[in-house]
């Protein structure tokens, strides 16, 4: 198991009417083959932008990779041509989204849509592609796959649609599967089914998974490593167990404590939830040489307002960008 993806000092800029904002600001991380890595943070923190950057799907003319590199198997895909990028998207990196309905074409049956992907990327014949589409639907546990293959997206439930999306993503046997909040629109029992499916597929095919989510519970449940993002910057990364049990960044701690989690045993006692006051700063404030979390942080002092925190290592695997990390 080697390093599959290595992102170094990545900066992604987005031009808005008010100027250019670094929506991803100096991000570095590695993804090993077969690993599950999770990005966490509130909306507007750059989680999805990272995924789009890796996929080469940044909004045209608005977003661009300003500096840094994304090494996939040693190849820098920030310098790849459009054709090469398309090849990588088809064969090596796939993505599934939050709302499967809008990602599926309503006028083709789901079998046809999966077969189309197979014909394009694996150059299969029509009949062979259809047969394999049914196999894939079966693999993602769509009941009665043979008959279901001729269904149209609107005839499926939300959970089934997401399974179809996963089947399409797997059609290219990708090395990396990026899942952007894949279960946010689904019920918890269906979410559990999808996670179970992803976990099995990962074990069987060795596909690495990048899971983008806002739910710490989801991270705890399925990821090995996690990266907490805030206002376009990595604030903490490390092994999930380490980070969840000893968060070093006040934002990470806040994200964990602000949600009323189900605990092993419930008691009469209900402590007030920890609030993270305020909201994520607007794009205009991104990129300043301060700690961007300072305005919401109860530990913030003069230093936090004067310089961007440097990244510090804690017990080998945990990396934190906070001036006061020792005190959390």
């Amino acid at each position: 198991m080697g390093t599959l993806l290595k992102v170094e000092n990545l900066v992604i800029e987005l031009s808005t009417t008010k100027g250019v904002a670094p929506v991803i600001d100096d991000l570095s991380f590695e993804l090993q083959a077969g690993q599950t890595l999770s990005f966490v943070g509130e909306s507007g923190c750059g989680k999805s932008m990272t995924a789009l950057g890796i996929m080469g799907l940044l909004p045209e003319k608005v977003g661009r990779i300003a500096s840094g590199s994304i090494l996939f198997n040693g190849e820098d895909i920030t310098k790849a041509t459009d054709d090469r990028l398309r090849e990588i998207r088809g064969n090596d990196i796939s993505m599934i989204f939050q709302e499967p309905m809008t990602s599926l074409n309503p006028v083709f049956s789901i079998g046809e849509q999966i077969a189309e992907v197979l014909r394009r990327h694996q150059k299969l014949e029509k009949a062979a592609a259809w047969a394999q589409a049914i196999e894939l639907l079966d693999a993602v546990r769509i009941p009665d796959a043979k008959r279901r293959a001729s269904s149209y997206p609107h005839q499926l439930s939300g959970g089934q649609r997401q399974r179809v999306m996963i089947a399409m993503a797997l059609a290219c046997e990708p090395r990396i599967l990026i899942a952007d909040e894949p279960t946010t629109a689904l019920d918890v029992t269906i979410q559990a089914q999808i996670f179970d499916l992803l976990e099995d597929l990962r074990a069987q095919t060795g596909t690495a998974i990048i899971m983008i989510t806002h739910d710490m519970g989801v991270v705890a449940e399925i990821a090995e490593r996690m990266i907490v993002m805030y206002a376009g910057r990595m604030v903490e990364q490390g092994q999930v167990d380490h980070v969840l049990s000893h968060p070093r960044h006040p934002y990470t701690k806040g994200l964990i404590d602000c949600v009323p989690h189900l605990m092993a045993t419930l008691t009469e006692q209900r402590a007030e939830l920890t609030e993270i006051s305020g909201i994520v700063p607007s794009l205009a404030e991104f990129g300043q040489d301060t700690c961007l979390f300072a305005s919401r942080c109860h530990l913030a002092n003069q230093q936090c307002l004067q310089a961007r925190p440097t990244e510090q290592h804690f017990n080998e695997q945990q990396l934190v960008a906070c001036w006061r990390a020792g005190e959390v």
Binding site: F195, G217, L255, C258, M263, A264, E268, E272
Partner: protein, 345 residues
């Protein structure tokens, strides 16, 4: 207000049923009815919070809308303070609405984009005419609006802004202020935080708890998020396909879920607590919620239940209490209140 009984139970819903006509196929074809809410009963004590929990399609929101007469109930009764809410004529209902208010899920569609924040909060006051003298009414309404803005944590200068100028959390605060304007006794909170960012959810949940204590409010809390429910509620009714399948107080339900569906639901919630993850094995229930037009015969959960027995698809289990006040609708729960699921894990 008579003190003895009425002051204890605030809302009493009995045998509430809501159905919608479904047009399918030809125009002349027989009308089919979809039973979104099927014969449910619950009560809420003054100052307490009851949660209606369930997944999409369980009928929890419809039940609440019907209780507030925002959706027409087919049968059943809703007593608020001992008065039958469903029997009120239109004009009495209009004024009676002051006692029962709503907080909505979507902070973006729940505020009229053409009104200023203060007008949104003032609307119920103007409609229900809660002011005393006509002369000072306007001044009094203004004073109440000011106080409400302060109570929900909004700054006075924000009164003049339009909804699109607020963040999601702030919009939800406006929604809460609007619900408080008429000094209601019962507030129905329909997924009040599920559309908000996690960090903002805590702000709103804390605010809801705070105003509940300050004003002795009673909540009917609708949610799919069991973590939030656990934090907010005193008792919980779990709904599946329009029926209540389990109804118990907070500790009893979370520590000893008896219905297989409740157990599966609880086990499916991802948790950061390692202890909980090792203690509860995830119970996977297959498939999706069945079509509400053709619910399974017998127990509605039987088609997905990992513990189902032949009897489950023959007769519908009644909602009964085996152990102290913990009601469950399942044939297979033992007399000591042990879930059939526990044998499977």
């Amino acid at each position: 207000m008579d003190k003895s009984k009425a002051s204890d139970t605030l809302l009493k819903v009995e045998n509430l049923t809501v159905q919608f006509p479904i047009k399918r196929g030809s125009i002349i074809g027989k009308k089919k009815w979809l039973r979104a809410v099927d014969d449910i009963s619950f009560t809420i004590k003054r100052g307490e919070t009851l949660a209606l929990v369930g997944e999409s399609g369980s009928g929890k929101t419809t039940a609440a809308l019907a209780a507030a007469r925002l959706v027409k109930a087919h049968s059943g009764s809703v007593e608020l303070n001992g008065e039958d809410f469903l029997a009120l004529d239109d004009e009495t209902l209009r004024t009676a609405r002051a006692k029962l208010q709503f907080i909505f899920q979507d902070p973006y569609s729940s505020l009229n984009p053409r009104l200023k924040a203060e007008s949104i909060v003032r609307e119920p006051l103007a409609n229900l005419n809660t002011g005393s003298q006509t002369n000072d009414k306007k001044a009094e309404h203004n004073r109440i609006v000011d106080e409400l803005f302060e109570a929900v944590g909004l700054r006075p200068e924000q009164k003049k802004l339009f909804p699109h100028q607020f963040s999601g959390g702030q919009r939800q605060r406006i929604g809460i202020a609007r619900a408080l304007a008429t000094q209601p006794e019962l507030i129905i909170c329909d997924e009040p935080v599920s559309a908000l960012d996690v960090a903002v959810q805590a702000q709103i949940l804390n605010l809801l708890r705070k105003i509940q204590h300050e004003r002795n409010l009673t909540y009917l809390f609708i949610s799919h998020d069991l973590g939030v429910v656990q934090y907010m509620c005193d008792s919980i009714a779990v709904m599946y396909l329009g029926k209540i399948v389990e109804y118990a107080d907070r500790l009893s339900l979370f520590n000893n879920p008896q219905h297989p569906y409740t157990a599966a639901l609880l086990s499916a919630v991802p948790s950061v607590d390692r202890q909980r993850r090792s203690k509860y094995k995830r119970i996977l229930i297959p498939g999706d919620t069945p079509d509400a037009l053709n619910p399974p015969i017998g127990c509605r959960f039987s088609s997905r239940c990992p513990a189902a027995q032949p009897i489950c698809s023959e007769s519908e289990p009644p909602l009964i209490s085996r152990t102290d006040g913990h009601q469950v609708a399942c044939h297979l729960v033992s007399d000591t209140g042990e879930s059939p699921i526990s044998a499977l894990i």
